[in-house]
């Protein structure tokens, strides 16, 4: 165990029960999981793990933001995912028993929980609803990876940007207007969408010119979702 475990200002059980994955657990189970969970503060810019490191458990974000990315020697790293509060990552590396295929770095000052592998395996054996939750979570992750593959291979740059903006709709067919705040810098979002920062800026600018969006720094308002969805590029 590390020095993080002694950070007793952090009430792990009460953080755990707020996470969807652990909500249905009994108090006893939560206490058991807490005993195998440690908190970790990760200042902005710090690495959590490197590609190729071994996974001993998975992480949940309490607050802050972490990026998962592939490194590249020429500095063009590729951001695979941006993880925010209450979201988890690293489950697949635990279950596949493979080293991490990406590195993880804090995009903001972040507080994480690390839940040990053994206690997860114990819960899987003893609690079928937990197992179903875990399966559904991993299945949803796969589903969104597949959509990424589709997006990278078949969608134009503009389609990818519009698709990303529309993801912030509260529900599938929502209409009217919406105001969103980009969760991170435009550079990171560009990499997430496999675009250069210049291309992303140009597309956002074009969309603003076409009066489909209005931009103010990280805040973007979409006047008419229907129009943006049907925009012909």
């Amino acid at each position: 165990m590390t020095q993080h475990a002694t950070d007793n200002r952090i009430d792990i059980p009460s953080l755990l029960v707020r996470l969807p994955l652990f909500q249905a657990l009994t108090q006893e189970q939560v206490a058991h999981v807490s005993a195998h969970t440690r908190s970790k503060r990760l200042p902005k810019g710090e690495m959590l793990f490197q590609k190729g490191d071994l996974a001993h458990g998975f992480y949940v974000i309490v607050f802050g933001q972490v990026k998962l990315a592939f490194p590249s020697s020429n500095g063009n790293e590729k951001v695979v995912e941006i993880i925010g509060p209450k979201q988890s990552f690293g489950e697949a590396a635990v279950f596949a028993q493979r080293p991490y295929p990406v590195f993880a770095q804090a995009l903001a000052d972040t507080l994480l929980l690390h839940i040990g592998r053994d206690v997860i395996f114990e819960l899987l054996e003893s609690d079928t609803s937990f197992a179903r939750h875990m399966l559904a979570g991993l299945a949803m992750r796969m589903h969104s990876l597949i959509q990424d593959v589709e997006s990278y291979s078949l969608r134009s740059s503009a389609q990818r940007v519009i698709g990303y903006l529309l993801q912030h709709c509260p529900n599938e067919g929502c209409e009217g207007s919406i105001e969103i705040t980009l969760p991170t810098s435009k550079q990171i979002i560009a990499s997430r969408l496999n675009l250069t920062p210049e291309t992303l800026s140009r597309i956002l600018h074009d969309l603003a010119e076409a009066k489909l969006i209005e931009m103010q720094g990280k805040r973007i308002s979409i006047g008419n979702l229907q129009r943006l969805r049907e925009y012909d590029f």
């Binding site: 590249s72 020429n74 590729k78 899987l124 054996e125 003893s126 992750r141 597949i146 990424d148």
Partner: protein, 287 residues
């Protein structure tokens, strides 16, 4: 249901051979087989379309099925090619989402369809089953992440070489002969390349004396040399260049869990740490 007793015995034997169901008792296998359906799919026939609801998952007994995204201009994108004893559709079934891809037979195929209800029943009754299922999903997840890395950061040539190396048996000698499991067009789409680019690269590799092609048969003169062509960049001491995720021969990493789903997953096993890729080759054409 129309299957004969003989057909049902086949289903049981098949299901028992799947890594996912390996730990199940024979009673459980019989129950599972009772609710499973055989389905013959002639070459070229569609199994499901993108957007169809998923009520279970499929196991390929024999034949070959492609999973792909349709595209209005006809340039479909092949996501996966599923062969005998491999399964597909588990994640979609569990996520309770419509299919994100369509499935079409590349050869005359026999499939077994396992219903969601029987999977859920197993999750309730067999504690070890969830773990197996999670391992399968997690491995599949890793191979998708690997694909994304390949599409976004590898050059066309790197992707072709990695694909060839994936088809080499781990214990084969330095000279290897492989048979591409499907047509060059489908393989090209799987690698996110145009058929022309794929052919050109194979031609270049042949010109360079690294391989010899004969239809779908490809002879690799020296596996080590082929691997070196994508690994000849300077390396730092503790990180082996391993751009394909192919385990270097000298690597003494322990064997990974045998529950792997995809045929080429042995190539991802023992993923050595890689913290750099070829310099100056960010791939971004073809999108």
């Amino acid at each position: 249901m129309t299957h004969s007793t003989e057909n049902r015995i086949d289903t049981e034997a098949l299901l028992a051979r799947m890594p996912l169901f390996q730990d199940l008792s024979s009673e459980r296998i019989v129950e599972l087989a009772e609710h499973a359906r055989g389905k013959r799919l002639p070459k070229g026939d569609m199994l499901f379309h993108k957007g169809d609801p998923a009520h279970g998952f499929y196991v390929v007994v024999y034949g070959q099925v492609k999973l792909a995204f349709p595209s209005c201009n006809g340039n479909e994108k092949v996501v996966d090619i599923i062969g005998a004893l491999q399964s597909f559709g588990e994640a979609v079934m569990l996520a309770q989402q419509p299919y994100p891809v369509f499935a079409q037979a590349l050869a005359d195929s026999l499939l077994v369809f396992v219903t969601r209800e029987s999977v859920f029943a197993l999750l309730e009754s067999e504690p070890g089953f969830a773990r197996r299922m999670l391992i399968g999903l997690a491995l599949h997840n890793h191979s998708l992440v690997h694909d994304i890395e390949s599409y976004t950061l590898r050059t066309s040539t790197e992707r072709v070489i990695c694909h060839l190396l994936h088809h080499c048996a781990a214990d084969a000698g330095d000279r290897a002969e492989i048979a591409l499991p499907t047509s060059k067009q489908i393989t090209a789409s799987r690698l996110n390349l145009t058929p022309e680019t794929f052919s050109r690269i194979l031609h270049d590799l042949a010109e360079a004396g690294l391989i010899e092609t004969d239809g779908r048969r490809i002879i690799i003169h020296s596996v080590a040399q082929l691997r070196e062509t994508i690994a000849d960049q300077p390396t730092d001491a503790q990180h082996t260049p391993n751009r394909c995720g192919v385990r270097p021969r000298a690597d003494k990493r322990p064997q990974q869990a045998a529950a792997s789903k995809s045929a080429d997953s042995h190539c991802h096993a023992g993923h050595a740490p890689t913290n750099h890729l070829l310099k100056g080759h960010r791939f971004n054409t073809s999108w």
